[in-house]
Symmetry: C2
Subunit: 468 residues, 2 copies
C-alpha cells in the first residue's frame, strides 16, 4: 500500500532533495518540483548565502540517508572562531575543548548537487525544474505549478504534499490564505541586513588567512565574518544596520564612504579585498528574518518542513542542520504511525515545534553574542574556562554552544534550557569573583555545576515542573 | 500652523474616540471615521467582548482628557478574584493588600458612548460612520473609504493618518502589503477560544453572586470567568480548547454534552444560567490571539495605536488600558517634538514597543496562571503572603499584579522584569521551606527582597547591564 502512495515535494533545495531521497528510500513514489533551473546544468543565483556551517545535527539527517561518506569531501573543518579585534589582535576561540568537535564550511551548491545526483539514481523520484508553485488545495493535496518557459499551468494530485520551499513558501502562503483554521504566523526582521563579499584565494590556490576557522570581526553594533571555500577563497559577510546609527547600508552610499568605513573598522580585511568596491555595489543587501508558524500541517494532506516551517537567522549556523534534523524526526514518526499521515504530522509537530522555536531564539541571541559579547573580557574569560573544562573533563562539561551544536542526542529546547542557565551561572561566578586562584579546575567546575543546578531548580519551581 | 494640521483617525472605538478627543483638545482638526453605525443610534454587535476591566493605566489616559469624573459612574469595583474551586469552595483572593487598589468592570458600549458624546462637543472633530477603510496611501496620508449604504468610494487627504482600527486594522494591512520597507508582523493564536454566556440579574435588579469581584472557575486546562454589569447581570466567558483534549468546543456539540460538561465542571454556575443552552448555540466562539508588528509608523505620515499596533489576549485586563496609555505616551512625545511627526512617531515607538510587547507576553502568562495556577496550593500561599505584605507594608511591597495593574508610574517592561523575578523568588522560598514560623512578617519580606535582588543581579550580569 505505502509503496503506491505518492508524495509531492515542493522545493529541491537542501531540505527538499534530502527529503525526497529519504521518502524514496522508504518506498514512496516521489515527485520533486523546483522553481529554479537544475543547478547542475545552469549557473544560477539561488538568492541564498553561498556557504553554510554544517555540523552534527545535519549529519544525523545525511547519515539516515546513507550519505555520511559523500559529504565529507565537501567539508572544510572550522575548529573555532578567529576573532579579529578592533586593535588588530587575533584571538582563536575554539568551538569545543574536545578535539573531535568542530563545524564545517560547506558550499550550498556542492551539497545540493550531491543530493540531486543521489535523487537522480532513485527510480521512485521524478524531478521537474522551472516549476513555480502557484497554490495548493489543502484538503485534497493537489498542487498547481506554472512552467517558467512555457507558462503552462498544470495541477498534480498527490497523497500528501510536503513544502520544503523555503522562507517564501508557496504552501505556507496557501495555508495562511486558507482561512478555515486559525494559522499563527510571524515574520520578524532584524534591524540589520547582510551583504556578501569575498577574499580571493592566493595565486597558488592557498588561503589568505587561517583556513580552519570561522573569522569574526565583532564591532559591537556591526559584525563581519568569513568562511573558507574549497578553492582557497573566503565568503565574507557584512552584517550592518539598514539605516540606524553612524554606519549603515544607507550611509555607505559612495566608494569613499565604504572605503572609510572599512579602513576604520576592518583594516586587516580591507587589505585582502581587491574587489571590495565593485562587490559592494553589485551584490544585493538582504534582510535577516525569523519565520514562525503553526500548524505546520492540515487535513493529514500537507506538511511544511525546513525554512518553510521555521526560517531562522544564520547566527548559530543551524538553518540547514535543523532542516536535516526535521527529516530525521519526521522519519521516526513515520516508523511509528506509518499509514496514518494525520497522526504522523501531529506527533511530528507536537515534538518538533518547541525545538525549532528554541533554535530560532538561540540564533537571534547569538547575533548579539557574536557582534558584541565576543569582544568583552568577561565573555573571553568564560570561553577560556569552558574550553578548559571541556578539555580536562570532556564527559562532564558541555558549553551552550556544544549542547546546541554537537549534542545531536539532545533536543534544541533542552540544549537551550540547560545552556542558558549554565551561561548565566558561569558569567555570574566570574563577575562576582567566586573563582579563586586556590581552586583547582575541578573545584571550579563543581561550583558551576552547583550554581547551574540551583538556577535550574529555581526555574522549575516557577514553571510548576516541581510539585507544590 | 499646528491648528491647521488635519489628523484622520480610522476607528471610533475606545482608542480612536479618546485619541480624537485628545488631538482635538490639542487644537488639531480631526476626522474620525468608523466602519460601523453610530452605536448611540443603533443597537449593534461590535463583535467584541461586552465588558472590560478598567484600571489605573486606562485612567491615566482618561485623566489626560479630563474625563476622570465621567467614567466613575460607569465603574463597578472588583476587589479581587472570587475563586470557585472544583469541590465547590469559594476563596476570595484580593487584587491588592492596599484597600484603594482595585480594578473595575465597565461596559464597552457605555464607555464608548461617553467618549463619542465628548467628541461630539468638539467643533474640531468631524465624525463619519458606516465608512469602511479600503486602504491608505502611506507616503501621502491619503485614506480611502467605502460608504456602507451608498457603496460610494471616497478618498480623504490628511496630514497624518492614525490607525486605531483594532486587530483587523486596515492601515496595518496597507503597511504589510506596502513592501517598500521590512514589516515585522506576527499573529499568534492560543489553542483556546472563548464564548460569552451570562448570569441574569435577580428579579429586583440585584446580583446572583458577589458583585464586587471577578469570579473565576479555574479548571486546569479550561477556565470560566464572570464580570458584573450595572443591571445586576454578569457576563460569563468560557475559555476552552478548540479541539484538543476531552472537553473542547468541538466535543460540546449537543445540549447533552454541554449540560454534562457544566454539571461536571461548573455545577454552582450552571444553577445560575437558565439560558445556557440557547446562549451556547447562538453566541459565537471567538479566537484569542496576540498581534505584534513593527514599525508602527511610516514616512512621518501614518501611525498605528491600540489593538491595531498590539492586539493582546484579555487575561491581564490590559487591552483597553494599554490603548489609553498609548495615547498618554504619544501625547508626551507630541509635547516634545510638536511639528515633526516623524520624530514624534519614532520616539513614541522607541519607548512604547518594548512595553506593549511586555504586556502581550504577560497576558499570555496570566492565561496559564488563571486557569491552572490559581488552584494550586503554592500559588494560594504566595498570594496570601503577598496580600499580607501589601497590607502591612503598603509602601514596601508590590506584587507582580500590582506592578502591572496599579503602578501606572512604571513601564510595563519594568513591571514585567521586576514582577517575574519577584514571583520566582517568592515561589522558591515557599517551595524550599525558607519561611519559618519564628520569622516575623517583616523578616519574610526582607528575605523576599534579598532573594529578588540576587536574582535581578544574576539577570543583569548575563544581559551585560553590569560592567565586566
Amino acid at each position: 500500500m505505502k509503496n503506491q502512495e505518492h508524495i509531492l515535494i515542493i522545493g529541491a533545495g537542501l531540505c527538499g532533495s534530502l527529503l525526497a531521497l529519504r521518502m524514496a528510500q522508504r518506498g514512496y513514489r516521489v515527485t520533486l518540483m523546483e522553481k529554479r533551473p537544475d543547478l547542475r546544468k545552469e549557473v544560477i543565483d539561488s538568492g541564498r548565502s553561498i556557504n553554510l556551517a554544517f555540523s552534527d545535527r545535519g549529519m544525523k539527517g545525511l547519515r539516515l540517508a546513507g550519505l555520511e561518506e559523500k559529504v565529507l569531501p565537501l567539508c572544510i573543518p572550522m575548529r573555532g572562531r578567529m576573532i579579529h579585534s578592533a586593535d588588530g589582535q587575533l584571538f582563536m576561540s575554539p568551538y569545543s575543548g574536545r578535539s573531535y568537535e568542530y563545524i564545517n564550511s560547506i558550499s550550498r551548491e556542492d551539497l545540493n548537487v550531491m543530493l540531486l545526483d543521489e535523487c537522480e539514481k532513485m527510480p521512485e523520484i521524478t524531478m521537474l525544474f522551472n516549476q513555480r508553485c502557484t497554490g495548493v488545495t489543502l484538503e485534497t493535496a493537489e498542487a498547481t505549478f506554472e512552467d517558467y518557459h512555457t507558462k503552462e499551468i498544470k495541477s498534480y494530485q498527490a497523497d500528501v504534499v510536503m513544502g520544503a520551499d523555503g522562507v517564501g513558501s508557496a504552501l505556507r502562503k496557501s495555508m495562511l490564505d486558507h482561512r478555515k483554521f486559525l494559522f499563527s504566523y510571524g515574520q520578524d526582521f532584524l534591524t540589520h541586513g547582510y551583504k556578501e563579499l569575498s577574499f580571493p584565494p592566493l595565486g597558488n590556490g592557498g588561503y589568505q588567512v587561517e583556513k580552519n576557522a570561522l573569522h569574526i570581526w565583532p564591532r559591537g553594533k556591526d559584525m563581519m565574518i568569513a568562511l573558507p571555500n574549497l578553492d582557497g577563497s573566503f565568503t565574507v559577510t557584512l552584517f550592518l544596520s539598514w539605516e540606524e546609527g553612524k554606519d549603515s547600508f544607507e550611509s555607505l552610499n559612495s566608494d569613499a564612504a565604504v572605503t572609510d568605513y572599512f579602513e576604520r573598522e576592518f583594516p586587516d580585511a580591507l587589505a585582502l579585498m581587491p574587489d571590495l568596491l565593485e562587490e559592494f555595489k553589485t551584490n544585493p543587501t538582504s534582510p535577516l528574518g525569523t519565520i514562525k508558524c503553526s500548524p505546520w500541517h492540515a487535513y493529514g494532506k500537507v506538511l511544511l518542513l525546513g525554512d518553510a516551517a521555521h526560517g531562522i537567522v544564520p547566527f548559530y549556523g543551524q538553518g540547514m542542520n535543523s532542516a536535516f534534523e526535521d527529516i530525521f524526526v519526521l522519519d521516526r514518526y513515520i516508523d511509528k504511525h506509518e499509514g496514518d499521515w494525520k497522526a504522523i504530522f501531529k506527533a511530528y509537530q507536537d515534538e518538533r515545534k518547541e525545538d525549532t522555536d528554541a533554535i530560532a531564539d538561540l540564533a537571534v541571541d547569538n547575533f548579539h553574542e557574536m557582534k558584541a559579547h565576543t569582544a568583552r573580557p568577561i565573555f573571553q574569560e568564560k570561553r577560556k574556562l569552558e574550553i578548559a573544562f571541556e578539555e580536562q573533563f570532556p564527559k562532564e562539561y558541555f558549553s551552550k554552544y556544544s549542547l546546541v551544536t554537537f549534542r545531536e542526542d539532545l533536543r534544541y529546547s533542552e540544549a537551550m534550557r540547560r545552556g542558558r542557565v549554565q551561561d548565566k551561572a558561569i558569567l555570574n561566578l566570574i563577575h562576582d569573583g567566586k573563582f579563586t586562584d586556590a581552586m583547582s579546575l575541578h573545584d571550579k567546575l563543581d561550583l558551576v555545576k552547583q550554581e547551574t543546578r540551583k538556577m535550574l531548580h529555581d526555574d522549575e519551581v516557577v514553571e510548576g515542573l516541581e510539585e507544590d
